[in-house]
């Protein structure tokens, strides 16, 4: 019962902040709402007894990546109204297309959920809550080793690329 209430309250916050991110005129405010959104998502992870994921969400997204967004937004002058530098018609069509795609996707997920009910969630929650980090680590190094290594390679490539872009002559 308490879990359901917490879930709905958190979901309201997440969706509300997400709407505010795209509707706010002031870009810095939009970035701040994005932080609040990420924090609410982290709280949702805690509710699902995924503490490790929650902490990483706060550390990487809320505390790391969005700080860089904030830097960019603060240092780039965005004072002029956005209508000046875009063709509204074209962007509208792309927007409609993307929204339709997301809508179809959401419909498919909901339809699939209605047809095939989910398995028993929370059967191992007590064990998960105790050994969250160990479990994630074991999974990453056994079942999901290849994706994990690929992601590491990708990050390494991005890092090297950033260094080469920043330092023209090495």
């Amino acid at each position: 019962m308490a879990q359901s209430i917490a879930f709905y309250v958190l979901s309201t916050f997440i969706l509300g902040f997400a709407v505010l991110v795209v509707t706010t005129r002031n870009t810095v405010h939009a970035v701040l709402f994005l932080v609040l959104n990420f924090l609410a998502v982290a709280a949702l992870y805690v509710l699902l007894t995924a503490q490790f994921l929650a902490v990483i969400q706060v550390l990487v997204y809320a505390g790391g990546i969005v700080v860089l967004y904030l830097f960019v937004v603060m240092l780039v002058n965005l004072k002029r109204p956005p209508e000046d530098h875009m063709a509204p018609q074209r962007h509208n069509w792309i927007g409609f297309g993307l929204s339709a795609l997301v809508l179809v996707e959401l419909g498919a997920i909901i339809g699939y959920g209605a047809v095939a009910p989910a398995g028993p969630v929370g059967a191992q929650t007590s064990d998960l809550a105790l050994n969250n980090v160990e479990r994630v680590g074991m999974l990453l190094y056994t079942d999901y080793l290849i994706p994990f290594e690929v992601a590491s390679m990708l990050l390494l490539v991005a890092m090297v690329g950033a260094i080469i872009l920043a330092k023209r002559e090495l």
Binding site: Q51, V67, M74
Partner: protein, 339 residues
């Protein structure tokens, strides 16, 4: 009912108030220590030996006019000091002040909670505090605070990398992320981790100085270059909140260092027979003593060392501390595998 709600609430209230009182008295301690280093007396007028000075300061700051600049972004300007203060305070949720003790016939742990991601929780909560500094400078709508906040946040982000890498090697040594278990594993291994990981200790301490914006890394408030710092436009209690948060962060870093490297609440050499009389001192007392020693070193460093130049600070962070921290992780891993 009592165990799940009442006792944690009482503990939270106690820890919050103790922290806030500790923070206000840190200001007095700092003034006294620096005065002592400079062969002065320090505050002497308010109460015997100036002991009521923090209360007088607090009353003064609350009564001061609270100015918001006209061109400032009001909401963000108001939120920034709060965003700095809150992470500093909620970190204390996972810091263990002592083991489970018998209090009035009830088993009470001397920590608010013990989560299995304790150390990561502290790192991630600390990373939120950066926002307060960036936003405080930005919302003031003034050049110097903006420059200062950019400097401060770049510094915090750079040193966060080094500190987090250092913590990785500590996690490998302890084999756990839970703050309580880290202390217990120091008891089991018969060694404080400062003797196992001396390099990590030095890195963590330097990183801690930089992360709390303390001298010699207090670039965020270089008066002669920035007319103050990111808090130039703040006045009254909001200005004070930035400083209280700085002192609260100092206490956080000291407590974490105590837990990680100095055996937390353990008495020195808990496994040596003839030193067992040290166990008569209560465990929380040991914790407070060690934390206090760290805080004293913070003040001592401030009284001794001059401020770094900004490029030197960045070079130290990226070209010295981070490589050493990464090498430390690698060496720890090799030693772990071999022995």
């Amino acid at each position: 009912m009592i165990d799940t709600y009442l006792i944690p609430l009482v503990k939270i209230l106690f820890v919050l108030n103790a922290t806030l009182i500790g923070v206000t008295y840190m200001v007095l301690l700092e003034r006294k220590v620096i005065a002592w280093v400079q062969v002065r007396l320090g505050p002497m007028r308010v109460g015997p030996y100036g002991i009521l000075q923090p209360i007088a300061d607090a009353v003064k700051l609350i009564l001061k006019e609270d100015i918001t600049p006209t061109r400032a972004d009001k909401w963000v300007f108001t939120a920034a000091p709060i965003i700095v203060m809150v992470p500093a305070l909620i970190t204390f949720a996972v810091i263990p002040f002592g083991p489970v003790v018998n209090l009035f016939g009830r088993q009470v742990p001397l920590y608010i909670t013990d989560v299995n991601v304790g150390l990561l929780y502290i790192v991630s909560v600390a990373s939120i505090g950066v926002y307060g500094i960036i936003l405080g400078g930005w919302a003031s709508n003034s050049k110097f605070p903006l420059l200062a906040s950019l400097r401060a946040s770049a510094q915090l982000i750079s040193y966060e990398v080094a500190v987090t890498m250092t913590l990785v090697s500590m996690i490998m040594t302890a084999g756990t992320l839970s703050m309580v278990k880290i202390v217990e594993s120091q008891y089991d291994q018969h060694l404080w981790f400062i003797f196992v990981q001396p390099v990590a200790f030095v890195l963590f301490f330097i990183g801690g100085l930089a992360e709390t914006n303390r001298a010699p890394f207090d670039m965020a408030e270089a008066e002669q270059e920035l007319t103050g710092g990111f808090h130039t436009e703040y006045s009254g209690m909001r200005f004070a909140l930035f400083f209280l948060a700085e002192y609260a962060n100092m206490i956080v870093v000291s407590s974490v260092a105590t837990t990680l490297f100095l055996g937390g609440w353990l008495a020195p050499f808990p496994n040596v027979g003839w030193l067992s009389f040290l166990g008569y001192v209560p465990s929380w007392m040991w914790f407070l003593l060690k934390t206090f020693a760290f805080l004293y070193v913070f003040l001592w460093v401030r009284a001794t060392l001059p401020r770094y130049r900004y490029d030197q600070l960045m070079r130290l962070g990226w070209k010295v501390l981070i490589p050493i921290a990464i090498a430390n992780v690698v060496v720890t891993g090799i030693v772990k595998v071999l022995f």
